[in-house]
Amino acid sequence: MYTLRLIVKNSLRHKLRTSLTILGLVVAIFAFGLLQTVIDAWYAGAEGASNTTLVTRNKTSLVFPLPLSYEARIRAVPGVTGVGYANWFQGTYKDPKNFFAQFAISGESYLEIYPDYLLPPDQRAAFLRDRKGALVGRKLADQFGFKVGDVIPLKGTIYPGDWELVVRGIFDGRQSTTNTATLFLHWDYVNESLKKTLPRRANQIGVYVVRIDEPENAAAISAAIDKEFSNSLAETLTETEKAFQLGFVSMSEAIVMAIRVVSFVVIVIIAAVMANTMAMSARERLGEYATLKALGFGPGFLTAMILGESLLLSLFGAALGIVILFPFAAFLGSVMGTMFPVFEVTRLTVLQQILAALAIGLVAAIAPTLRAARVNIVEGLRSIG
């Protein structure tokens, strides 16, 4: 108890330096948590993916389509319980800066595969009835203020022309990690228009989404689907939705790696600053350490005192850093809008922050502890602080 009081008193002796050190720690722990959250957001699509859903795409590359006629053949593969399909639409809403994901989907068969999209039954029915209807995710609706009945004009980039869609429903996510920054429209609507304007590009599918009975069968069913179309004009590649999403992430792996490295560099820098502070305190107090030793306190006591002070500062700073991370992440998530559909601080991130703070506290205490333990009583008493 006395030791603890001594530690607190010691750390308050040099108030300015202590508060600067804590400020540094707050910044470091906060930055570390923020970067971790960005990385998590990157992987969020893959984390939320179901393992009973397969995605079938053109083997050459995602930009090549598959024929509509594959639907029936995929449905016939044993183990397949549902097939839907979607095309990446990529229309521009007013300004290219308003980028958000848009998919032209196969209607009911697609929605059935994704039970994580929660939609009132009447809105669902209204969407399915209206060929020009659209479904909008909650996050997207919040960002642009879309309401049921609104008309959304989109300018096609892949599918030329102006498209006017009527919002028929707004869906929520079952989990907090469900992506609700998406717009869905009817594939039929797109296809009908293509038949008139670009008949060559009609009846083509971007990806098939396939629901299967058991997750264990994913590999076998994927192989069966790909075998069905091998040596055809459009060979397929089927993988679980998770693998499919991770494929997207791995494309920008270099950037994720860079962020990861940087988040550790932050920790190293602040450990250096912290070690510096502790070294200075120890140097100033060499006389005191000698006095304590002369009074009969052992090296263990000195270690506890220095380590205690170091840990007290680092944990206090970390606590503040964690506390301010939450509102800031929420703010940043709303500013970035649809760029990162999910932007949340995870429990693991907080745990990592605490561990990082402990590590900093320990590392910073090493050099001063050694110094204090080694100090010669006579020399220490002679030195002036």
């Binding site: 540094g24 906060f30 930009v63 030329p160 494309m251 820098i269």
Partner: protein
């Protein structure tokens, strides 16, 4: 009376461990700051050198990339008869009808798939890009299933080396040559004969038309003619602008991320400098009193401590810049968000970046040192001498 600089330098040397730790912290910040600038510069340089100023790219209206675009054969013919187009030595217009598709190839070693651009070029495609040089093997023969690969593709993707084969479009394609495009975006592409690639991918339309103007001043008129022509639904862009636009999202992302990181880091580093300088002041209270008693003025003390802090920052800055300059030997590759394809680029150090980085580190030193220096300068002679 000014305090000599060697006194300042000796003070830093007297507390070597603290100086080294603080300088290392500053160096890391400077390193991150400089590498981000270098990366952005490398990206910009890659995309600007990809395009020739006098070349014009025509793609379908409202398409953002060549991959999304399609140009019908008839439209391409209409364009090719425009009088503003430069003529080659053979009297034919310098124009290449190109087809651009993305295929996914596996990386060497990790076997991770990534999208790579396959560009089918016309007979004059090479003449339009003077920066592209064959470095090994030979050019593909028109009419054969042969391709040539960009330098960074050949290095990083399996099957793309010389003599190896790639399979796509239900055919085997032999890599007969490698080209070096001077670190431009073409280094991340595979080129073949447009007339072979189109049937292989069952395309009936081109993706883009690239042409050289006879004179650079003709661009505005040419653009007006093309975009005003009822028979065409094409947009004309200077090739350089076109490629710069392709990377806008990636470039913005890199600079915003870099800015945020630099701000966060520099706060940490400035705190480090401040702590160090406060300690330096506290350790030398008596010394400061003596200096004042000897007749040195407050502003000289202020200047001395500021100089000490800035010297510390310069040490850190030079150290960080030195490490950053080693990054020039590393190549960075990532997927370009806009074109959705792999793009390799390097870190590029320019004089501008060196200046910016040094100014940045000096600013950190100044901000970190100003409060401790003020404290030192404000001390009363009597108090300071008594404290010693």
């Amino acid at each position: 009376m000014k305090i000599p600089l060697f006194y300042v330098a000796r003070n830093l040397w007297a507390r070597r461990l603290t100086t080294a730790l603080t300088a290392a912290g500053l160096a890391l910040v400077v390193f991150v700051f400089a590498t981000v600038l270098m990366l952005d510069e490398g990206l910009r340089n890659t995309l600007v050198t990809t395009g020739e100023y006098d070349n014009v790219v025509l793609i379908r209206r409202s398409a953002d990339t060549e991959v999304q675009s399609s140009v019908e054969r008839g439209q391409a013919s209409i364009v090719s008869s425009h009088p503003s187009i430069a003529l080659g030595a053979d009297g034919q217009p310098l124009l290449s009808r190109e087809t651009v598709v993305l295929i996914s190839l596996n990386k060497r070693g990790s076997a991770k798939p990534s999208n790579v651009i396959i560009r089918g070029i016309g007979a004059r495609g090479l003449a339009l890009r003077p920066q592209v040089k064959l470095t090994a093997g030979r050019m593909f023969r028109p009419g054969a299933s042969e391709i040539i690969a960009g330098a960074s593709i050949a290095r990083r993707f399996s099957g793309a080396g010389i003599g190896e084969t790639l399979r796509f479009g239900q055919r085997e394609w032999t890599v007969v040559g490698l080209f070096d495009a001077g670190n431009s975006g073409f280094d991340s592409e595979v080129w073949g004969d447009a007339d072979q690639l189109m049937p292989a991918f069952r395309r009936v339309a081109y993706s883009a038309v690239v042409l050289r103007l006879a004179d650079t001043s003709l661009f505005d008129g040419f653009k007006k003619d093309i975009e005003g022509d009822q028979r065409l639904t094409l947009d004309a862009k200077r090739e350089q602008t076109f490629y710069a636009d392709q990377s806008k999202a990636l470039s913005t992302f890199i600079s915003v991320l870099g800015l945020i990181l630099s701000v966060i880091f520099s706060i940490g580093a400035m705190i480090g400098a401040t702590i160090t300088m406060y300690a330096s002041v506290a350790n030398r209270v008596g010394e400061i009193g003596t200096l004042r008693a000897l007749g040195f003025q407050r502003r000289s003390i202020l200047a001395a401590f500021l100089a000490e802090s800035m010297l510390l920052a310069v040490v850190g800055g030079v150290l960080g810049l030195g490490c950053a300059s080693l990054m020039r030997f590393i190549s960075f590759s990532t997927t370009n968000f806009q074109s959705f394809s792999e793009l390799a680029f390097g870190f590029r150090l320019t004089a501008d970046i060196v200046v910016k980085t040094l100014v940045f580190s000096l600013a950190m030193g100044f901000i970190g040192g100003v409060l401790p220096a003020l404290r030192a300068a404000r001390m009363k002679i009597v108090d300071a001498l008594r404290a010693a």
